[in-house]
Symmetry: C2
Subunit: 124 residues, 2 copies
């Protein structure tokens, strides 16, 4: 059973956290997507945290978790904090297949996506 | 002459700011993209700021500027700070066509893009 966990920064503004939760819902609803579940964790300021979300995935029977750091730039959170938490969890759950994607902003898909967003606005 | 200005938060970590600048370079290099230039501004912690970047665009002869708030969630920066700065600039440059896209995280293109990033990692 494969699960996707989107890790966002988290905000004091609940509407921002809800925006991320709704985004995960839309990812889950993409036609033909291969994950049995798509959920969200927050690095700070909101719940669930990373450890709590991963524990929940394991308790629900997921054995293969893909983690996507939903950050635009590779700051300390991406380079140090998230990998450290994932390593600690992996050490406690050696049977789990736990892998992280590059942070979202590093994807080669982003330049054409940015251009599509900008062009749609420019032509409207 | 149309210009695209990508507004990022800005970081104390120069590598993060450089990552955004390199992203703008990659957007500029997309085949067939309609903007005569693609540049970056930072809300805080890095240069150029929004006003400085917009002034630079105007001085270089751009009369039509599309601004893309490169943020994943609609926090205070997206809802208040950036619109306020854009309004002030527009008031001082009434002849300028200045329009902002929705913030990047609100784009309907993001759920399939997130899924593509996650799936590529999951299958590798």
């Amino acid at each position: 059973m494969k699960s996707l966990l989107i890790i966002a920064h988290g905000s004091r503004r609940q509407a921002s956290n809800d925006e991320i939760r709704e985004l995960a819902d839309r990812v889950r609803q993409q036609p033909g997507q291969p994950f049995s579940d798509v959920s969200v964790a927050f690095l700070e300021l909101a719940s669930p945290g990373i450890d709590e979300a991963l524990t929940c995935c394991v308790e629900r029977g997921f054995t293969d978790i893909t983690v996507l750091p939903y950050f635009l730039a590779a700051g300390r959170h991406v380079v140090e904090d998230i990998p450290a938490q994932l390593q600690q969890f992996q050490a406690r759950h050696p049977q789990l297949t736990l892998q992280a994607t590059e942070h979202f902003g590093a994807s080669a898909l982003l330049p054409p996506t940015i251009l599509n967003v900008a062009t749609a606005a420019s032509e409207s």
